[in-house]
Amino acid sequence: MNTEEMKELVLNYVKKEYIDDDDTEITNDTPLISSGYVDSFSMVSLLVFLENKFKIKIPSSKATPEAFDTVNSIVALVNQYLQ
């Protein structure tokens, strides 16, 4: 899976699980945490999704609101642990 496919996968998951309003425009750059689309309590489910889907383990110290703020930053984080 290349980076663009990963972004699409994460973006679709975020839209499906966390965005109630279908009309909300979410892109790979949309701030998810700092705009309140995904709250800090929900971050854990997003983390579990990433770990399951990509078969990786992300240390909790790296799963910060900043690292989880956009699809782009999430995929950049995942890529660090895919090697």
Binding site: G36, V44, V48
Partner: protein
Amino acid sequence: MLDSGFSAQSWYQFIEQYRITVWYSAPTAIRSLMKAGDEIIRNFDLSCLRHLASVGEPLNSEAVIWSEKNFGMPFLDTFWQTETGSIMITNYPGMKVKPGSMGKPFPGITGTVLDAKTFKPLQGSGKIGLIAFKPGWPSMMRTYWKNEEKYKEKFVNGWYLSGDRASIDNEGYFWFIGRDDDVINTGGHLVSPFEVESALLEYPAVGESAVVAKPDEINMEVVKAFVTLKPGFTPSKDLELEIMNFIRKKLSSVAMPQEIEFVDKLPKTRSGKIMRRVLHAKEWGEEIGDISSLEND
């Protein structure tokens, strides 16, 4: 205005921009600011601040010391409930602050800790009891909406029972211990374990469930669920995620277990009641205590 998301930068910027003087916050937010580091604080002019206070959860001593160092004044812990309508125990300006203590009853309020069996005030310092107040303060609740029975249960032996436990030291300072029930305080939000357990049972794969608080660096406590599965289901990370999302949508993200542990069986009394306190003690590394009523294999 600052309800969407959290960043230390936006909080400090807000204080600077609007020249905030009194900053009333919550320990989870304060701990998050501490985690963001001290350096960022130097980028802002926070000289407008003149009073800092905290509410919602017990404020740890490190946060008090940190705020004194970085803002030149401590966050003063305060204690109150919707039921009390006003601050009951607090560190008010001018009094000596003992970091980690809730402070003392606000002038005019009579507060104590009661023996859990006799409901009489405990004599001597350092003994853990139920935080209670003499009824009659001006903003006291008048009832629980359509639940007069529950309202009456809050008053015993001439005292209002807050549902929290504390000890009082030899100078009259209260020291918070925890809830007197199983309610989980996660980041200042109260979560009923029973409600989460009931919701878990609605998930098709779940046989039994027990929900307890798990220690957490930022939120003080988070929700953890122990779950047994019905025959035909096997534990997996995908199942954990499905259950998490099920609870998040059914109840709220706050109530969503931050961890689900699949177990073969839950500790129960011989009469079949789940011993939540055994699981709680395990999470907190505490003594399990009397387990003579634990059912045998």
